[in-house]
Symmetry: C2
Subunit: 183 residues, 2 copies
DNA sequence: ACCTGAACACCGTTCAAGT
DNA sequence: ACCTGAACACCGTTCAAGT
């Protein structure tokens, strides 16, 4: 039983398809990017993509995973910024993929794979807040406050205001929190 | 020059098309609803819709306008609720059209008409806050706080948590504000 | 196991033609 | 002015067939 007759190993070809899709999804948008266009960029026929990915949404999930994996080092560097600056940094960074974020929200009810990816992502964000921060008002609800932060940042990303308004909103957002707890 | 040879007056037929589209957009989603399907529901051929609306996005804008026009009385009744309850009420109400809201955000960069509608909507929301509310912390930025409210409510709508978590987030949100100013 | 050519069942939109 | 039948140029996905 042959295991691999390809010119390229499987992982490499998958990565190529993901890279082509990522570039086009970000530049042109998910809906505006046809499978043919991605196939062309990766120098295969459209139906070849379906050997590697179940459908277009599965390809999007793979792109999202790869993007957040690749940007982890950058996020760790940003962790040294003070709170309002960190929010501003995050908003400006996510604005580059605001179209993709809107697409995820829009397709959640049509794609189970995307719904699961999205749930996992928000679980990670919630965990991040629980682990590192504490409320200035100890009586408050931490999860509720963390959601206010997360949703406001999402809103800033999708609504793209000017830099000054963005900054003022991030400052108002940071005002309820103490810096990360030291151990 | 004949002005009107229709069986029905223009406004009535427009309203019929909007009603058919609204029902299907909400129940099946915007992308999942084809122009053919809307035409069928309104007993015309697909291309007839293009006599009344420039394209599918223009039809969506008409649906949005009609929906918010029709729900004004309900919103005025809800204005008598205390702050956190009012947020909860709003979130639960908007959740019924969360798919449409996600679609608006997703299509803003592809449709100028939709982008304009969205900008106008947020301008109205901002005006509402400036007119009726004041901050508990007078030093704070009112526009920034209003955006935090608006974006958090949007986030609650699109992320649909359980009732208890929704309520706690609305309470945390309300804690920053005093009741509307009396005149 | 991997990839293709050709087809399937759509889609939003346009346009010449009717009344 | 209003509406249609037919077509246009797509789309995501499937499938039998090749190697």
């Amino acid at each position: 039983m042959p295991v691999n007759r390809r010119a390229q190993p499987e992982a490499e070809k998958r990565a190529q398809l993901i890279a082509a899709a990522q570039k086009l999804f970000i530049r042109e948008g998910y809906e505006a990017t046809s499978m043919s266009r991605i196939a062309k960029a990766a120098r295969v026929t459209p139906n070849t993509i379906y050997w590697y990915f179940k459908d277009k949404d599965a390809l999007l999930v793979a792109v999202l995973d790869e993007m957040f994996r690749a940007s982890r080092p950058e996020y760790q560097k940003a962790a040294s910024l003070a709170l309002p600056e960190r929010y501003v940094w995050l908003v400006e960074r996510l604005r580059k993929i605001s179209g993709l974020i809107a697409t995820v929200h829009n397709r959640i009810h049509e794609s189970e794979a995307l719904a699961q990816w999205h749930a996992g992502f928000h679980a990670k964000v919630a965990e991040y807040f629980r682990a590192g921060y504490r409320l200035k008002t100890p009586g408050g609800n931490l999860d509720a406050e963390a959601r206010i932060i997360a949703y406001t940042i999402e809103g800033l990303v999708t609504h793209d205001l000017d830099a000054a308004a963005t900054r003022r909103t991030c400052e108002a957002l940071a005002a309820r929190w103490s810096p990360p707890t030291e151990r």
